[in-house]
């Protein structure tokens, strides 16, 4: 049930495909295919290739360096990036802080930060969550107190993905305690090299150390790093949440993972047949595939709406829920597919240059850790429960 594209869009797809084929480092590609951890250089190099191509910021207005694509083209691009096993786009700069900067930032901020985001000279991370906040984001307690032409920031952010690589962090901080919880929050851009910032990795249940706590102890941030108005940070955060709603469905990524799952099934033997010939297993794959078709149909509809000037509203929450359900279902089927090979845990061998071979087939090595890791997807970015709240309250009016 493939999408029917216009000849123009189909040509665009081929162009993107050729670009990836020509420019993606084969070792990086192999790591992505196998679900092995990437190092910083894998990300940076690929981002720079996209930048050189002029394709680093599909979502940006042309004036700041966006390529001027239609929503469908952006979807095709995202999908091809995923299908082509490229490193995931680190969203914190290009997709998250940049729209806030070019919409609410000063001319100086635009001039200073946007080009370096585009070229990936700065790696950004996100300072939203705090211990104790979680889904109730606006209860955050990191404080920024004005002291002359600086803010003095104290507090702790957590769940900060890849902060260990970051040059910059954008933070929600509390500049006023007196009013309602959502009021008194401000949006600050902070250089990670500022004295008083320390980063501590948090080990997750899959054994990974991708997320961090970021501590702020009397960190002096120049007032020109305040975005927009003091006390309006919550507005910008909400704007950001509403941005690029369709991307969260991760259709392309799921397509690649589903294709990979099918490959695994062809290699796994079950008695006289392969798992690819096992009707029972394949029915579960079919179920996910059908969900994915439905998800894609919904995403395309939303993009068409966007092109017509009707971007999706709170109802896009169902894209997040379904997108995550599909992603998690695939990780679960992968664990099932690899059978007894799911048990071994040998992270030293998750490296294409490892000294020792892996335990069991390479496609099986990270199946269980990825399943464990992916449970996060229904928690972060507004948990499934929060998304249901949004639908109940803002779509159904309950």
């Amino acid at each position: 049930m493939e999408l029917v594209l216009s000849a123009e869009d189909e040509a665009f797809r081929q162009e993107v495909r050729a670009f990836i084929r020509d420019k993606l480092d084969p070792e990086t590609k192999r790591k992505v295919e196998l679900g092995y951890p990437l190092d910083k250089n894998d990300y940076v190099q690929w981002h720079k290739r996209m930048f050189e191509q002029g394709w680093a910021a599909p979502n940006w207005p042309v004036e700041y360096g966006g390529p001027g694509w239609t929503p469908i083209q952006r979807h095709i691009y995202d999908e091809e990036l995923a299908l082509g096993s490229t490193p995931r786009v680190i969203p914190f700069g290009v997709s998250m802080v940049a729209p806030v900067i070019y919409t609410f930032g000063s001319a100086e901020q635009k001039a200073k930060y946007l080009p370096r985001i585009l070229s990936f000279d700065d790696w950004w991370c996100q300072g939203y969550s705090e211990p104790g906040s979680g889904s109730d984001l606006s209860s955050l307690r990191t404080k920024a107190v004005r002291d002359g032409d600086h803010y003095i920031v104290n507090g702790q952010k957590t769940w900060t993905t890849l902060a260990q690589y970051a040059d910059m962090i954008f933070c929600l901080v509390r500049t006023d305690d007196s009013g309602k919880q959502q009021e008194g929050i401000s949006f600050l851009l902070i250089d990670m090299k500022t004295p008083g910032i320390s980063v501590t990795p948090i080990e997750t249940i899959d054994g990974d150390v991708e997320i961090n706590s970021v501590f702020f102890e009397d960190v002096r941030v120049p007032v020109e790093n305040l975005v927009g108005e003091e006390g309006k940070g919550w507005t910008y955060a909400k704007f950001l949440l509403g941005h690029e709603r369709t991307g969260i469905a991760a259709v392309g990524r799921s397509k690649r993972q589903l294709a990979r799952l099918k490959t695994i099934a062809e290699h796994e033997v079950n008695g006289d047949i392969t798992l690819a010939e096992d009707t029972d297993f394949q029915e579960r794959v079919s179920q996910v595939e059908i969900e994915l078709f439905a998800l894609e149909a919904m995403v395309i509809g939303a993009l068409e709406g966007e092109a017509r000037g009707n971007p999706p509203g709170p109802e896009a929450s169902i894209l997040k829920i379904k997108g995550v359900e599909v992603q998690q279902a695939i990780t679960e089927l992968a664990v099932e597919a690899v059978g007894n090979h799911a048990h071994a845990f040998a992270p030293d061998t998750w490296d294409i240059h490892a000294n020792e071979p892996g335990i069991g087939p390479d496609y099986a090595a990270t199946a269980a850790p990825i399943y464990f890791n992916w449970r996060k997807a229904s928690i972060y970015g507004g948990s499934n429960e929060i998304q249901r709240e949004i639908i109940a309250k803002r779509v159904l009016g309950l």
Partner: protein, 378 residues
């Protein structure tokens, strides 16, 4: 969020929704169900006037050449009112068979049907065929220049009211061979045709039809002798998508009725709608409907130009998603209506029943998941 209509489609939608809103209260519908034929001839004439009966057919057969999406739009709107008129039997099933097969029978009968002057029915399912479209035990034995038809069909929608029946019969081969199935057009009143009409659990009419030495000429053959199966499969695949569109309308209404009911109904001093566990269930109902709808429209768009294999795959996918969504929405709607939802006077039960039977029709979600999987692994 997912479906954007052309101006023409919006017109179809508006006119159908208006009719449904004006004429299809549950009480009005129940009166039709309890009437002799189980539907309104007057409504039928209106459908004809509005051009709905010719919507999907080629212009050469008197139709308007509407697209798959046009049909989905119409069916979705009719689904909102649980319309009981024989639209599916005359247009979607028998009409499509005529249209696809073409030839003199189509040229004669379709314009009459489109004008509202002839009702059609599609007699294919048999007591032992289950959902296997190639399982045909009714025989059409050569008899001089023509054929002699014997056997029994079941679940012939609106068979009791139809003027003409499209009947599949085996002209050669064994009971489950793909070749050897031929479509015939019969008068319902023909000698040897015995029709036993009955209600269905979801408020429609259908019939058991028995053929006892029914003689027809070779000119009663629709399409090509022995090659009827490809038409039957096309008819049923398309019908699966359009019934899913009907289900989409019914689901939309079921979600809305449930939201409204829970807002009104108070328990423990608060409206039901204020209970978080119920709110989340309604969010899931909403989501199930939305995704089923999106997939259905995607498949409907595909119908206009695709291979039989693509069509079959799309229809199976839609049956899976629609069936599962219909079950979730229908069952939860009743649950959230509580005891009131169990009573025949409330609209919701009727939506639930129709949704249940749309899932069951031509095989439920599980059946089509298996079918889809088999097709993909070929």
């Amino acid at each position: 969020m997912s479906v954007w209509l052309t101006d023409e489609q919006q017109l179809i939608k508006d006119s159908a929704e208006r009719l449904v809103q004006n004429d299809y209260t549950i009480e009005a519908r129940q009166k039709l169900i309890d009437s002799e034929e189980g539907f309104s001839r007057e409504n039928w004439a209106t459908f004809a006037e509005l051009g709905w009966l010719g919507l999907p057919f080629k212009e050469e057969h008197g139709g308007f050449g509407g697209t798959g999406v046009d049909m989905a739009v119409l069916m979705e709107a009719l689904g909102k009112g649980l319309v009981v008129e024989p639209f599916a039997s005359s247009v979607i099933l028998a009409g499509t068979a005529l249209d696809l097969a073409g030839g003199p029978l189509a040229e004669r009968l379709l314009p009459e049907m489109i004008a509202g002057e002839r009702l059609l029915a599609f007699a294919h399912s048999e007591p032992k065929s289950r959902f296997n479209l190639n399982d045909v035990a009714v025989t059409a034995a050569t008899d001089g220049d023509g054929f002699k038809i014997n056997g029994q069909k079941m679940l012939v929608y609106h068979g009791g009211s139809a003027d003409s029946l499209i009947v599949s019969a085996r002209t050669s081969g064994a009971q489950r061979d793909r070749d050897g199935i031929t479509l015939f057009v019969l008068d319902r009143a023909a000698e040897g045709v015995s029709v036993r009409g009955h209600q269905t659990v979801d408020g429609l009419r259908a019939a058991e039809v028995t053929f006892t030495d029914v003689r027809v000429g070779a000119d009663a053959i629709l399409g090509v002798k022995d090659k009827g199966l490809s038409i039957i499969e096309a008819v049923v695949d398309r019908a699966c998508v359009f019934f899913a569109a009907e289900a989409s309308g019914a689901m939309e209404q079921a979600v809305a009725l449930t939201v409204d009911y829970t807002k009104e109904r108070k328990q423990f001093g608060r409206p039901l709608s204020s209970f978080q566990a119920l709110q989340h269930k309604m969010a899931d109902m909403y989501s199930a409907h939305q995704f089923s709808r999106a997939l259905t429209y995607r498949a409907a768009a595909l119908l206009d130009d695709c291979s039989p294999a693509e069509r079959a795959e799309a229809a199976a996918a839609v049956k899976v998603k629609c069936g599962q969504s219909a079950k979730l929405v229908g069952e939860e709607a009743i649950q959230l209506h509580g005891g009131m939802g169990m009573t025949a006077d409330m609209p919701i039960g009727h939506y639930f029943k129709r949704l249940t039977m749309i899932n069951a029709l031509f095989g439920n979600a599980q059946y089509h998941l298996k079918r889809y999987t088999a097709m993909k692994s070929e």
